[in-house]
C-alpha cells in the first residue's frame, strides 16, 4: 500500500523527502514506519504519528493512501 510520509524539522529520513509516497506492506503500522526509517533513539517516545490529520496509536494498522505526519516536538519554551 502507498503511504505519504511527511515530517518536519531536524528529523532526517535518508532518501525520503517529506511528502514522498512510499510503498509499505499491508498491515504496516506507524511503529513499523518509524522502525524502517531508523527513528529509534531515546526521542522515540515523544514522536506523535498524525495520520490523515488525526491521532493514531503507533500500533494501529494503516490503510492504502494514508498520510502519516511524523511529528517530534523539540524542547524549549
Amino acid at each position: 500500500m502507498r503511504i505519504t510520509v511527511e515530517y518536519i524539522g531536524f528529523l532526517k529520513i535518508e532518501g525520503v523527502k517529506s511528502g514522498t509516497v512510499v510503498e509499505f506492506p499491508e498491515g504496516t503500522r506507524a511503529a513499523d514506519i518509524l522502525d524502517r526509517f531508523k527513528l529509534t533513539g531515546s526521542y522515540r517516545k515523544f514522536i506523535i504519528p498524525i495520520v490523515n490529520g488525526e491521532r493514531s496509536p503507533q500500533d494501529r494498522a494503516l490503510k492504502d493512501c494514508d498520510r502519516v505526519f511524523i511529528y517530534l516536538p523539540v524542547g524549549g519554551g
Partner: protein, 214 residues
C-alpha cells in the same frame, strides 16, 4: 467566543490602533501552559491586543537566569511566575480577567484547564509535556484550538521560525529543529519571534482567519 467585552476602553484609547478584525477578542479566553520565554511573552502580547481573559499556568518561580528572555524583571525574582505575570498584566489592563494556576499541568488537569477556552497555548520547555499536550488535543473531538511550539533555541536565522498546521485545530510554531539546551542557548529575539508567531496565531484564530496560511 462572545461573552461580553471585558476590556475597558476597548473601543477607544489603547486599542484604537488595533486591526479591526480583533474587535471581538475582548470576549475571548485563552489558556497558556507555561510562563517562561514563550508563555510570559505570549501573555503580554495577547493582553496588549485586548484579549479579555487569560488562564495562566506555571509551577515555577522567577529566577535570575530567566531574565534574558522571559517577561520578568529583577523585582520579580523569587515570586511565583503566575503572580509576577499577573501583576504586569493588570498594570497593562486593570480589567483583564485572570485565572491563575500556580502548578504543573498534567494530563488529568486538561479537561478543567481547557474548559471555556477558545485557544490553549502550549508554552512549556520539555519535549515530553509538549508531546503529551499535542497528543491529548489530537484525541479530543471538542477541545479548543491548540497552538504549540517547537524549536526556538540558539541564534539560527529568524526566517526559520514559521507557523504550520499539524492537524485540524492544532498549529505549531518554531523552526522544529533547534532545542533550547546548554550548548545551543536561548535568547530573547529568537524566543520572542516564536512567541510572536504563537500570539499572532491565537489572534488569527480568534478572528476566524486561518492561522497557518502563509
Amino acid at each position: 467566543m462572545a461573552r461580553g467585552n471585558r476590556t475597558r476602553g476597548a473601543n477607544s484609547g489603547w486599542l484604537a490602533r488595533n486591526p479591526p478584525e480583533l474587535g471581538g477578542v475582548g470576549g475571548a479566553r485563552v489558556g497558556i501552559v507555561g510562563l517562561g520565554g514563550l508563555g510570559s511573552n505570549v501573555a503580554m502580547m495577547l493582553a496588549r491586543a485586548g484579549v479579555g481573559a487569560l488562564r495562566i499556568a506555571d509551577f515555577d518561580r522567577v529566577e535570575l537566569e530567566n531574565l534574558n528572555r522571559q517577561h520578568f524583571f529583577t523585582a520579580h525574582i523569587g515570586l511565583l511566575k503566575t503572580d509576577a505575570l499577573a501583576a504586569q498584566l493588570r498594570e497593562l489592563n486593570p480589567d483583564i480577567e485572570l485565572d491563575l494556576w500556580p502548578r504543573r499541568i498534567e494530563e488529568p488537569d486538561l479537561v478543567a484547564f481547557s474548559a471555556g477556552c477558545d485557544v490553549v497555548v502550549e508554552a512549556v520547555d520539555d519535549a515530553a509535556t509538549k508531546s503529551m499536550l499535542v497528543d491529548w488535543f489530537l484525541g479530543q473531538r471538542a477541545a479548543p484550538w491548540l497552538v504549540t511550539a517547537s524549536g526556538l533555541g540558539g541564534i539560527e536565522p529568524s526566517n526559520a521560525i514559521r507557523t504550520v498546521a499539524l492537524a485540524d485545530r492544532i498549529v505549531a510554531c518554531g523552526d522544529f529543529s533547534t532545542p533550547s539546551e546548554p550548548d545551543t542557548g536561548v535568547c530573547a529575539p529568537r524566543v520572542m519571534l516564536a512567541a510572536s508567531h504563537q500570539a499572532l496565531a491565537v489572534l488569527r484564530i480568534l478572528s476566524n482567519v486561518d492561522p497557518a496560511l502563509n
